[in-house]
């Protein structure tokens, strides 16, 4: 698992650095923990929303997760965030979730 995270980190970080400016990344990190955390838990262990820990997300491809963030999940409490987040932002969030989040 540690190795998987390390590999993901290596592959994810360069893309992140290119697509999202550092200041935006800081805002996204805060949003992830504080606002996503309102439903998913500050440590992403779940709440009204599903857990978003690296283990919980292991079976989900990046594109599905990005689509879920941008378009929401109809029939659930997960809203579409596309009015507030760009596709690059959403991809950054997915990368960040795969690294594991602790406030």
């Amino acid at each position: 698992m540690v190795r998987l995270v390390a590999i993901l980190l290596l592959t994810a970080l360069p893309a992140t650095a290119q697509d999202v400016a550092p200041q935006r990344a800081a805002a996204l990190e805060n949003m992830l923990i504080q606002d996503c955390g309102s439903c998913h838990g500050l440590r992403m262990t779940g709440g009204l929303g599903n857990p978003l820990t690296p283990d919980a997300l292991a079976g989900w491809p990046d594109d599905s997760l990005v689509a879920t963030i941008l378009h929401g999940r109809p029939g659930t409490a997960m809203p579409p965030w596309e009015a507030l987040l760009s596709p690059d932002d959403a991809r950054w969030m997915v990368d960040r979730l795969r690294q594991g989040v602790t406030p």
Binding site: D35, S38, R43, T45, G46, A77, W81, A83, P103
Partner: protein
């Protein structure tokens, strides 16, 4: 006691005020949740000071608290299933149990003897002895298959040693009655509507009202007549035909009541709804700055104050309950998460999460009269809640 009193008098006469200064009541105290750090700040709401920081409370995402009848102990409900008992007089964590894997708030019984916690995982309610935090009762929610039980939300205390709560997955409202002893009599009201997401009890303790996420309207139970089941009210309340993204679930705790009107956050819409409590019908809609989260009345009911979900959570609006006009729009700072009025309403405390501060404002002038540093503050809870039904 008499002897202690004599000692105090003696100390005062002798000109050593230490003991007299150390003696204090808890009526001006409160706590602020610092949710990311897992700490709680003990505050003095009159001196505007931070008296202590209590550590080790775990994951305080969405944490809330209730108080013992003597206003000395705060029971803090954490996301990680932790139930923590904090002595606000000494600023110490005196007890803590991990009672589930994932929880969402709780309540204390009218006699102060039982503390109940609503759990997501495993879905249900667990009840503890308020003194020792020893388990008293376990009320598993309805089985939804796959080894899971419905998530429980909107847990509130009701008169008559009762707890009332809603089942998110199965659309039920349950009443657990502990008046006959530690084994509750549970009344299950089914088919109240899809996905109740939060609930409240009116300040008089009579009506339990759950907001529905999955369909329009609210479910109302008259706790004087639970045998009548749940009644649907306010079918105009809801996300409507063109459902809007809901970035944060509104909170229904603390029914903002002024005269015959109650003020409720609309869900997804930039509106506060006005409800006529005599007829339980809509009496108006007030367009506001964003999606409302908390709609709270000043004690006395002259105004209601509203905060908003992301991306408008730097703003507060104040509504005149007589004219229904917005009388002031404030921008306290980034991430205004929660407000708490002093019991008689002269000041209002608010958490400015991303500003890492708590602001105290004069309710009349709405100007900042004090600020206190706090680490990502969220909920603010004053000890006066000990004496209010449903809080």
């Amino acid at each position: 006691m008499k002897r202690l009193f004599s000692l105090v008098i003696a100390a005062m006469i002798a000109g050593t005020p230490a003991l007299a200064d150390d003696l204090r009541g808890t009526g001006t105290l409160g706590i602020v949740i610092e949710r990311a750090a897992g700490t709680v700040a003990v505050i003095d709401t009159r001196a505007h000071t931070r008296l202590a920081t209590v550590e080790g409370l775990g994951d305080l995402s969405h944490a809330s608290a209730v108080f013992s009848p003597d206003e000395r102990y705060a029971y803090v409900f954490g996301r990680d299933g932790g139930l923590s008992k904090v002595d606000v007089l000494t600023g110490e964590l005196v007890n803590r149990v991990m009672q589930s894997g994932n929880s969402i708030g709780g309540a204390i019984s009218d006699n102060g003897r039982l503390v109940a916690v609503a759990n997501y995982e495993p879905g249900g309610v667990r009840v503890f002895d308020a003194d020792t935090l020893a388990p008293v009762a376990d009320i598993p929610a309805t089985d939804i298959g796959g080894g899971k039980r419905s998530k429980v939300v909107g847990l509130a205390d009701a008169p008559g040693r009762r707890f009332v709560f809603s089942l998110w997955d199965t659309g039920e409202i349950w009443i657990a009655d502990f008046s006959a002893g530690p084994q509750p009599v549970v009344t299950r009201i089914t088919d109240v509507g899809a996905n109740p997401y939060d609930a409240l009890i009116t300040p008089d303790g009579r009506y339990y009202i759950a907001g529905l996420f999955g369909e329009d309207g609210l479910a109302l139970v008259d706790l004087w007549h639970p045998e009548k089941g749940a009644r649907r009210i306010l079918d105009s309340y809801g996300r409507g035909e063109e459902t809007l993204p809901v970035y944060k679930m509104p909170h229904l705790e603390g029914w903002a009541v002024a005269g015959r009107h109650a003020f409720v956050p609309a869900i997804g819409r930039h509106e506060v709804l006005v409800v006529d409590m005599d007829t339980w019908t809509e009496a108006g809609r007030i367009p506001v700055h964003g999606q409302p989260v908390f709609v709270m009345a000043e004690p006395g009911g002259r105004h209601v104050w509203v905060n908003f979900s992301v991306p408008n959570n730097d703003t507060l609006q104040v509504i005149d309950t007589e004219t229904l006009a917005i009388v002031e729009t404030l921008t306290p700072g980034p991430g205004v998460l929660h407000m708490e009025f002093a019991p008689r309403g002269d000041q209002v405390w608010m958490s400015v999460r991303d500003g890492n501060e708590v602001q105290v404002r004069d309710t009349l002038t709405r100007k900042v009269i004090a600020t206190l540093p706090a680490d990502k503050p969220s909920g603010i809870f004053m000890t006066s809640r000990a004496h209010r039904i449903g809080l």
